[in-house]
Amino acid sequence: MDAKQGKNFDLSSVFLPFLSIIVALAFGGLLVLIQGIQPLQAYRVLFATAFGSFDGIALTLAKATPLILSGLAVAICFRAGLFNIGAQGQLISGALASAWAGYTFVGLPTLVHIPLALIYGAFFGAIVALVAGALKAYRGVHEVITTIMLNSIVIALADYLTSTPFKEPDQPLTRTPKIQESAQMPDFLGLPLGFFLAIGLSVTLWWMMRKTTTGFSIETIGRNKNAGWYAGISVKKTVIISMLIGGAVAGIAGAVETLSITGRFEPAFNAGLGFDGITVALLGRANPLGVIPAAILIGGMRASASTVQFEAGVAPELVDLLLAMILFFVTAPLLAKFFKSRKENVAMTSGWSN
């Protein structure tokens, strides 16, 4: 749907989301007001922290980076008519694998070590997704079941590996050793390097979806499996490819977190990123470029939540309330109808009916 919109550019497609966010904030404010808290003060702190200074922006982008990637992981699968609830498990697998590559290989130059660790992350993220993809393609096992089950399996497996074979020696905690200095992702122009990588991947996947046969196959089976079959597209192969792409991207999300933020793998540190990815993908309308602003918005709110609590005394759940409101007003046709916009409200996910 987005491909067609680009041609006759419609002001409302830019203007409406912004307006929706403002209305969402107003309604979110009402919910906060019930608690006897001043929403304006909270919002001022929220946005000043997230977007009001260079450091704030850098932190927002660092938070947005894994969200862009896990959003992409979910979005690409949505395009193929697959619901990848397993981004969380794929992300954890990638985070652990890259940590292993990061601390095991010694003496590599940075230019080799970082890409190598990222490849490990992508590979092991893809492996997890491959299980779901292959079972779907060859045994007809629904990906919603397998990805949910695989999340729990991967979390338990990562927990075991980090508590026994990969554990940092001579200390009681469940965590891997720290990665070598050569594997630490640096900043680029003061901004996290991973962010540029995420943008690069978004653009690449956007291009792939529009210009390559793989992208065409994914879009086609996403719209209608039978049509894909008639067009001579191998549905099995395409299902597996989409899951592999999704898993690899989610794995890279985990790898970037390990290599630039946590510096090691510790089970609790990657909680929730994969599930936020679903929200990001939906807010970005399952468009590889759309996930970028969605992730920056959510990343900014997550980045400043603790400052809002510190300065305005509002509990960090404020972010969840606002997220629900924003998702609601951005996607509900209320405002569009208000402006008599003729834009049809098109469903972009096919649930699991495909």
Binding site: L31, Q35, F83, I85, V131, L135, R139, G140, V141, H142, V144, I145, T146, I148, M149, L150, S152, I153, A156, L157, D159, Y160, S163, T164, I278, T279, L282, A315, E317, L318, V319, D320, L321, L323, A324, L327, F328, T331, A332, P333, L334, N345, A347, M348, T349, S350, G351, W352, S353
Partner: protein
């Protein structure tokens, strides 16, 4: 009906059970009893999904529906000092969540996955934001000793002494199965889920039926939430549904969108959880606990991979109905 490998499972189960019952009757019945308890919230939540999806509405907001219903059920029960009234409030909250989903998915024709995600995030945010300490309900919904059944050998200790919502939940499962396959409401519902335009031509109001079913499903979700807060534990904590609403989606698909199938799938999953615990109690295996706790998930995937066979969800699922199109 074609006999598939999955149909041998019950047989394998009975043989295994008989073997263990001879070893230790108390443990064997206790595992089955526990399996039912693990299964119930999943089964109830799966019924929510089935009711919605059979009429063509995807509902991934089950987790949120359960969480917020548990919240209102608990706090209403605590404030009114009446557990029964708390349950009514919980069920009504579920109805409201169902209506909310219906408005978004049916009237506004929003993307149904988004609508469900909105319910989930909203519930997580609201329940966490407005949570308060130092409330307690006067009493939990206590287990009932079934009069005749309780005295039966073997089955007695398995089936008796569950809570009221558990028994009512099982009743819902069978009623829903009967209603879906043996009544005209069920026929119309399934028709709307498969081919809404034909159903429309035949004089069924697609919108009204979908509204009705999604709302009733919401009530069942409210009951599932009330179960957690009022019967299973008697407290409310933030996020304490712990992903059960999502596992229920897997259970629903595992059971092929059939109430009895989903119930069986939930029982299977509950049984694997009870067995996982039993492995830790028996301490027979010297393997790390992480691997033991993976058992339910691995077995589910394995069973599905072996039994295979394509599952086909209701055809019109996820697609908003446009009258003009027909």
């Amino acid at each position: 009906m074609k006999l598939r490998s999955i149909h041998y499972l019950p047989l394998a189960f009975v043989v295994t059970f008989a073997y263990f019952y001879r070893q230790d009757g108390l443990v064997a019945t206790s595992v089955l009893y526990t399996a039912i308890q693990f299964a119930l919230p999943l089964a109830l939540a799966a019924m929510v999904g089935i009711m919605c999806e059979r009429t063509g509405i995807v509902n991934i907001g089950i987790e949120g529906t359960m969480l917020i219903s548990a919240f209102t059920a608990f706090f209403a029960g605590a404030i009114l000092q009446n557990t029964g009234r708390g349950m009514i409030v919980g069920v009504l909250t579920g109805v409201i969540m169902g209506l909310l989903l219906a408005v978004m998915a049916i009237t506004w024709k929003m993307d149904q996955i988004i609508a469900g995600v909105i319910l989930n995030i909203l519930a997580a945010g609201v329940t966490s934001f407005y949570y308060r300490q130092n409330y307690s309900i006067p009493s939990t919904l206590d287990p009932i000793d079934l009069p005749v059944v309780g005295a039966w050998p073997i089955l007695g200790p398995v089936l008796s002494f569950h809570g009221p919502i558990t028994y009512f939940g099982v009743l819902i499962v069978f009623t829903l199965w009967f209603a879906l396959y043996k009544t005209s409401w069920g026929l119309r519902s399934r028709a709307v889920g498969e081919h809404p335009s034909s159903a429309d031509t035949a004089g069924v109001s697609v919108t009204r039926l979908r509204y009705l079913n999604v709302t009733i499903a919401g009530a069942v979700g409210g009951l599932a939430g009330s179960y957690l807060a009022l019967e299973a534990v008697g407290i409310f904590e933030r996020g304490f549904t712990a992903g059960k609403g999502f596992t229920a989606l897997a259970i629903m698909i595992f059971g092929r969108w059939n109430p009895l199938g989903a119930f069986a799938a939930a029982l299977f999953f509950g049984l694997t959880q009870a067995l996982t615990n039993q492995l830790m109690i028996a301490e027979v295996v010297e393997i790390p606990f992480q691997f033991v706790t993976m058992l339910p998930y691995i077995l589910t995937i394995l069973i599905l991979a072996i039994s295979a066979g394509k599952v086909r969800p209701p055809a019109a699922e996820g697609i908003p109905y446009e009258k003009e199109k027909s």
